[in-house]
């Protein structure tokens, strides 16, 4: 991890905390260390009665292009039971996926259950982790160049929460994202209900700050009361169950068995690197679109 993978600040005058992901050279992909830093800061923010809103954004043109597959293997190896054998055990994979992403201490659960109003500045690529930031935050302001999706699902299978996605955009649209791998434009995301405001890219931060200040003016008892009512509704919607299912599926799909004729994305990552694997996968889908062999 670079020394400044994310920056954190608190503006006491406006009662707003800021999280800014700072890995533009990696399109703000979230590695394990950055995820933990964000969780630690949210712990601090939740315990600070002076803060009422949290702004989450990314440095550079993209919000986040996903989780950083470069350190996925070490995530499994470092989990309890992960280094016992040459290949990480299934229990290590489960623990790693839960602790870092979907479990009660994971990034998404932590963001979803923040007691402050959480506001997202979405721009450029909001893929996978970027998409789930939009689903876990209370409000999303998107730049016109933002796009939302989860292309990796097409190479492995859908391995993230579905309940929030279905609740936000509807069942059939969620399935469309699962099986066709085509990201949504910011305009589509607004139409579908994933995004709350759409603004030109150069007005994104100003609009986000405006909304954050408006939220920060709401009385604190009201905010926390509403957030706990939301948490109760999320439980009733089965979001906890869906996160648990995502943990199981994500860890299982890390061990996926490919059929002989299938594109083995994981082997391609190992053989030629992540960028090459994604490009090969994309070229294969383009062939289907254009009908070329």
């Amino acid at each position: 991890m670079s020394a400044v993978s994310a920056s954190f600040s608190i503006d006491r005058d406006s009662h707003i905390a800021r999280i800014r992901i700072s890995r533009p050279e990696r399109r703000n992909m979230i590695d394990i260390a950055t995820g933990r830093l964000i969780c630690d800061f949210l712990d601090q923010v939740d315990d600070d009665d002076d803060i009422t809103a949290v702004l989450l954004s990314g440095e550079g043109p993209d919000l986040s292009a996903g989780w950083d597959v470069a350190d996925v293997w070490s995530m499994y190896i470092d989990a309890p039971g992960g280094a016992v054998k040459k290949v990480p055990s299934q229990r290590a994979r489960l623990i790693a996926v839960a602790d870092n992403w979907w479990g009660p201490r994971g990034l998404y659960s932590r963001l979803l259950h923040c007691r402050k109003v959480t506001i997202l500045e979405a721009q450029g690529d909001c893929l996978e982790t970027g998409l789930f930031f939009a689903l876990c935050c209370d409000l999303t302001i998107a730049a016109e160049n933002a796009r939302f999706g989860c292309p990796r699902w097409h190479t492995l299978g859908a391995d993230g929460d579905l309940s929030l996605l279905i609740a936000a955009v509807g069942l059939k649209r969620a399935k469309d994202l699962m099986y066709t791998a085509v990201p949504w434009t910011a305009s589509q995301a607004l139409d579908y209900g994933l995004v709350d405001w759409l603004v030109p890219a150069d007005e994104l931060t100003a609009k986000a700050v405006e909304i954050a200040k408006m939220c920060a003016s709401i009385m604190r008892d009201g905010i926390v009361s509403e957030k706990y009512a939301l948490f109760a509704s999320l439980e009733k919607m089965g979001v906890g169950l869906s996160f648990a299912a995502a943990t199981i599926v994500a860890s299982s799909l890390s061990n996926i068995h490919f059929q002989p004729a299938e594109f083995n994305f994981l082997a391609e990552v190992k053989r030629a690197g992540e960028a090459s694997a994604v490009a090969a996968s994309r070229a294969r889908l383009d062939q289907i679109s254009t009908g070329k062999d």
């Binding site: 190479t155 859908a158 059939k172 169950l241 679109s289």
Partner: protein
């Protein structure tokens, strides 16, 4: 009555149209469910497409339930709402399911659309409410798909939804010209079939857990109750 063709991971189930389901034709429903279940269990299949060879996916039909229903509601439930009946077989299939809809899509046609993963629609398609005379229609699926208030309006008013409106409210996945319908469906099927089989199956298993949490399965279980109620209402109406 029902033809099945499998090619390169994509299975095509075709029939003249799906109106027999609206008429509560038990034999047709059993044959269609059997085809979906067989393909769902076939490791060479990743995608299942439902297509009508006639001009309409499900032509308008009066729907014989409940007035003309003969026999017990339990027997009816085995054909139309049970876990191995057509709608649950389609909804909880472990493969990607696609409905290709042209023209009139009444009653059972819309119920099939709700139960399938993706729907490719022609521009002239009209989606009638499945809730008027079909107790097996799943309102939870409708509210998850087009959202609660639209689903309520569809159920209460029964107004057919045009293809573009259906696209705008999330009921269909693509709208194309009638001439381009088959090729658009083929492209969607091939796209989905490019996914790894294990990934498709595990995704569908996770989806089923989420649908169960929302009460989709329980809503199918309630169909017999709704059918009993509708039959009683039908008998009362006949006596009046």
């Amino acid at each position: 009555m029902i033809d099945v063709d499998v090619s390169e991971g994509c299975a095509l189930i075709s029939t003249a149209d799906f109106a027999p389901l609206t008429r509560h034709d038990g034999a047709f429903a059993r044959a269609l469910a059997a085809a979906v279940i067989d393909l769902s269990d076939d490791d060479d299949v990743k995608v299942i497409v439902l297509r009508a060879s006639g001009p309409d996916f499900a032509p308008a039909d009066q729907g014989t339930f409940p007035r003309d229903l003969r026999g017990t509601v339990t027997a009816w439930g085995q054909d139309f709402s049970a876990s191995d009946a057509i709608y649950q077989a389609l909804c909880f299939s472990k493969k990607v399911t696609i409905t290709e809809v042209a023209g009139v899509c009444s009653g059972a046609g819309s119920a099939l659309v709700l139960a399938s993963d993706l729907t490719i629609s022609s521009e002239d398609a009209q989606f009638a409410s499945p809730f008027m005379c079909m107790p097996e229609s799943n309102f939870v699926l409708a509210s998850l798909t087009i959202r609660l208030n639209r689903a309520k309006a569809w159920a209460v008013r029964g107004r057919p939804i045009g293809a573009h409106e259906a696209m705008a409210c999330g009921l269909v996945s693509r709208v194309v010209s009638r001439a381009g319908l088959a090729s658009a469906t083929q492209a969607a099927a091939e796209y989905a079939a490019a996914m790894p089989l294990d990934g498709i199956v595990m995704s569908k298993m996770m989806l089923q857990a989420v649908l169960d949490a929302h009460g989709v399965g329980r809503e199918f279980d309630m169909a017999n109750l709704y059918a009993t109620s509708q039959r009683a209402a039908g008998v009362t109406a006949e006596e009046e």
